[in-house]
Symmetry: C2
């Protein structure tokens, strides 16, 4: 069962730089297979054949199929966190301006790398408990960064006095759910969607109320 050819994204250099070319190719193949069919319905044969290797060759580069999944999910979570922690974003003074930039960047990343992002969100519970715990730690950092940006705006009066935790969760839901339906050949470019969701996020925080 090969990967769905519609499942393409812009992920040329998502993997760790210290990995070899074959390893990176296997990860790119794996992420497409996992996104299309799920972790358990993907075989080591599928992953290897997409890069012209025999199933046995995979085990020279990775000790197990689960570790391939872990490498994909870890890279995705580290990359998106780095992307929204961009110094240019952190330096923004205005609370609304900063939150807008964060939501936009988070959305753009998920849209541009929607195949990897899909695996990051949907195959998470097929990791071993140890690996799962490592990813949860990264997710807590991301969530905390978002929540901090919302809380700052509430504290300085830029935003309405909302329930910070719940509104932050809603904002994250908006973006995370796009991994279910987003396609690069659809009507929304990643940047357009980023702008749109940043607008929506600020509407959730508008000072007046309706």
């Amino acid at each position: 069962m090969a990967a769905d050819p519609r499942l393409r994204d812009h992920s040329p250099d998502l993997w760790r730089a210290d990995l070899g070319e074959v390893q990176r190719g296997l990860l790119s193949s794996a992420v497409r297979c996992f996104a299309a069919n799920g972790f358990h319905a993907t075989t080591t044969r599928d992953i290897a054949e997409c890069v012209g290797l025999s199933p046995a060759a995979l085990y020279v580069h990775f000790p197990s199929k689960e570790l391939v999944l872990f490498e994909v999910i870890r890279a995705g979570h580290e990359r998106v966190l780095a992307h929204i922690r961009d110094p240019a974003i952190v330096a923004l003074e205005g609370s609304a301006e900063r939150l807008r930039a964060i939501v936009s960047a988070y959305t753009v990343w998920h849209a541009r790398h929607h195949v990897t992002a899909r695996v990051c969100q949907m195959e998470l519970n097929h990791l071993t408990p140890e690996h799962y715990g490592e990813i949860v730690e990264l997710r807590h950092q991301t969530n905390g960064y978002f929540r901090g940006a919302v809380a700052r705006g509430v504290a300085d009066g830029s935003f309405a006095k909302v329930d910070v935790k719940r509104v932050t969760r809603a904002m994250l839901s908006l973006t995370i759910d796009l991994v279910r339906w987003y396609r690069l050949d659809g009507p929304d470019s990643p940047e357009q969607l980023g702008e749109f969701y940043a607008d929506l996020a600020l509407k959730l925080l508008a000072p007046d109320g309706e």
Copy 2:
């Protein structure tokens, strides 16, 4: 691999009334297993053993594991559609009042039946193409119903002149994503969350803009 005991919801009578008691028990067992471990990581043994049967007994009641999944997903989609099409909701005259009721009902259903809802959202692509097509048809009905409620309010001036398709999709994302994280023993009751998300939906449609 048994179902996660935390994955409990209020699904006493979610299945078709013409099914026998054993069939309904198997579906309840299956939905918990699928929600906890995913379709392919769940074995027919898991499903059967949770109701004290041997794996072979499952095949007296269902022709295949895939059809068990289909029955779960079809029931879920039909139930939630019926829930939001409640005559009391359809009869509401005000556009804002009606949309609030729809979003609230949709959210309450997903929270109350979050285990089934999780399977409906996350295991969808493990159906056969034929069964998948049937579910997509039900989803189109649900999406169209939501979109119509938004469009009506935009047309009569109750809501801002938003991009109906995109805003509707965002509203659906809010609720659908809760299947990833919702737990009945958490701080939000289904009804509280329904109210909260109905408020958020109306903020996305507030006439003033920010």
